[in-house]
């Protein structure tokens, strides 16, 4: 595993906003994450890739405690994740997540999907939440659909709504769990464009994706995982041009020659 210095990563932030130490997770007997150590700096854009079953989704789902882990520690913005419900909610109020299958609330209109957490978790007034939500919808280009319901939109539109929803609470960290994998090919770019815009704004992003173009364009660091371990991490240039391990070499050959 290559150790990166601050200089290589770039001049992003001064402090680690996520500190993962010695993380181990099992599903029953299956060892899903093995001794993961990972520090993420404020404002850093990290892309996590790897074959399916490599534990990449599990890793980022540990960060907002959607997955429990048995060993190790995770510190998010100074709060340690334990079973303490208060701390979990504290972390979740600063960390937003975008899912592969969007997971919008189908019984609520688009605007209500966006304002739910701001009103109930962050105690904003309806008026405030609504104004902010409309601005965000405008930014992702679907302001005119605000009163519709999720099932009335296309997949790409739904995912853009989901991104707007996760931005509504002004999170410090955004987690993306394969945000484009469930989309029709025609709609992938409209979602990636939104994500690229976001990346430019300095929000910390942890992104599981197979979109290598996206990784090359915006990532500060690309992480390769296999069988529950971090095999290799590097700046995108080195990651794609000089992969150190054979395993990564093979993986890159396979996905880049598709």
């Amino acid at each position: 595993m290559s150790e990166l210095t601050n200089k290589e990563i770039g001049e992003k932030g001064c402090c680690d906003i996520i500190e993962i130490k010695g993380l181990n997770k099992w599903y029953g007997d299956f060892h899903a994450l093995k001794d993961i150590d990972l520090n993420v700096k404020e404002g850093e854009i990290i892309v996590v890739c790897g074959p399916s079953g490599s534990g990449k989704s599990t890793l980022i789902r540990c960060v907002n405690f959607l997955e429990k882990f048995q060993e190790g520690s995770i510190l998010v913005d100074g709060t340690e994740l334990t079973d303490d419900v208060k701390k979990i909610r504290q972390v979740r109020s600063e960390v937003s997540m975008v899912f592969q299958h969007f997971n919008l609330f189908p019984h609520l209109s688009i605007i209500d999907n966006l304002t739910l957490a701001p009103i109930w978790v962050h105690h904003e007034t309806k008026q405030e939440a609504r104004e902010k939500a409309l601005k965000l919808l405008d930014r992702v280009g679907i302001k005119d659909q605000a009163e519709k319901y999720p099932n009335q939109l296309s997949g790409g539109q739904q995912q853009r709504v989901a991104i707007a929803r996760s931005l509504c609470t002004s999170p410090k960290i955004m987690l993306f769990d394969e945000p484009t994998s469930a989309l029709d090919p025609e709609m992938i770019s409209e979602v990636l464009d939104v994500m690229i815009e976001l990346a430019k704004e300095g929000i910390t992003m942890l992104c599981v994706t197979h979109e290598m173009g996206f990784a090359k364009k915006v990532a500060d660091r690309v992480i390769f995982m296999d069988e529950g371990q971090v095999i290799e991490q590097n700046t995108p240039e080195k990651f794609f041009e000089n992969p150190e391990s054979e395993r990564l070499q093979l993986f890159l050959d396979q996905i880049l020659t598709q």
Binding site: N64, L66, R89, R92, S93, V95, S96, M97, F99, H101, N103, L104, F105, P106, H107, L116, A117, W120, V121, Y149, P150, N151, Q152, R165, T169
Partner: protein, 365 residues
């Protein structure tokens, strides 16, 4: 580059005669279908004339006729007219009937007000408020107190009793059913265990048994002075029974909610209560509407079992009315009338559930 032009969208071809085409498609599409159609027509031919003769053509519509002058060829509808008050109010005292009417009147008024407030932001407040306050008002009106003369529950009967029992059963079992459904899903082992035991026990026992337990066995445990109202015991029995069924229906709805909904709610930082009330339950209840209403319809029919523990619901009134020597042998009229009233009520419930489904639908229209 190859050029192409988009084709115009056209209307579907028009059929010459719609009625003929409909018949062909739906009633005579195949030999089997055609023969079934003829068999059905024959059955209608056999059944319909006698029914119509009895209810209408041979019936006596003279509402002042007595049992003898009515004749026996067809229905004697003056029986219903003469006993109408008993069918509706049971043995409720004549001079206090206005209280029952007021109770029904207030329901009608509340429903009308509710639909007027359809687009108002206070609609939810209004509905919740009604559900909290109305039962108290209804109880005082029916039972008495606050200056109204007390009417003991053994005088209640007929449609009034049926509606009271069904309404109490429905309104009380709904929130309890939700609690037990959530309890059965709970990660807390004790809560889950209690819920499972309760639901499985009650579902494994017929309603009659529970009513018997409530009316006969329960009093054995109390000393003579502590005996409490028979109707109240029946209400508790019915509510306990209905709760288990509603819980299972709602659990079905809960299980249909994808895991992603829980995760999205968790990830947004919602608390357990918020997640349940704002995200999970609204969806689970929406899916469950047809089954919930189905369960309520079954409950409404089950109220007729009250007759077994000596309460006079509308069905029992038929027996009471025809045991009067003035109206011997008019059971058929009574049962047909009761069947019609209950059918109208239940069919309205079923239509209303259909309307709710459409209203809550957020699918692509």
């Amino acid at each position: 580059m190859a050029t192409y032009s988009l084709k115009e969208t056209k209307q579907p071809p028009k059929s010459q005669t719609k009625a003929v085409l409909w018949l062909k498609d739906n009633l005579f599409s195949s030999v089997t279908n055609a023969s079934l159609t003829f068999i059905a027509l024959y059955i209608i031919y056999l059944l319909l004339p006698p029914i119509l003769n009895w209810t209408i053509f041979d019936a006596n519509f003279d509402l002042t006729a007595d049992n003898d002058s009515c004749g026996r060829e067809g229905a004697c509808w003056s029986f219903i007219n003469a006993n109408f008050k008993m069918f509706i109010y049971g043995f409720y005292p004549q001079e206090e009937l206005w209280r029952v009417n007021t109770m029904f009147g207030i329901i009608a008024a509340l429903v009308a007000l509710g639909s007027l407030l359809k687009s108002s932001q206070y609609r939810a407040h209004f509905i919740i408020g009604s559900f909290l306050i109305y039962p108290v008002v209804a109880f005082v009106l029916l039972y008495g107190g606050l200056g109204l003369e007390i009417v003991e529950t053994d005088k209640w009967g007929g449609l009034t009793l049926t509606v009271v029992v069904a309404a109490v059963g429905i309104i009380a079992s709904f929130p309890l059913g939700i609690l037990f459904a959530l309890g059965r899903q709970s990660e807390m082992r004790v809560v889950k265990f209690i819920s499972v035991v309760y639901i499985e026990f009650v579902r494994g026992v017929p309603l009659i048994t529970i009513l018997f337990m409530a009316s006969v066995v329960l009093p054995l445990f109390f000393s003579a002075g502590m005996d409490f109202d028979k109707l109240l015991r029946a209400l508790i029995g019915i509510t306990l029974f209905q709760t288990a069924y509603i819980a299972e229906v709602i659990r079905g709805g809960l299980q249909a909610i994808p895991k992603g909904q829980y995760e999205a709610a968790d990830a947004a930082g919602l608390s357990f209560m918020q997640k349940t009330m704002l995200v999970i339950l609204p969806q689970a209840l929406k899916i469950s509407i047809p089954n919930i209403v189905g369960s309520f319809i079954a409950l409404f029919k089950d109220t007729t079992l009250l007759l077994i523990i000596g309460l006079f619901d509308m069905l029992a009134i038929v027996g009471a009315a025809t045991s009067n020597s003035n109206w011997l042998g008019r059971d058929t009229e009574g049962y047909v009338f009761v069947a019609m009233v209950i059918w109208v009520i239940l069919y309205s419930m079923s239509r209303y559930s259909k309307r709710l489904e459409v209203r809550f639908s957020t699918e692509h229209k």
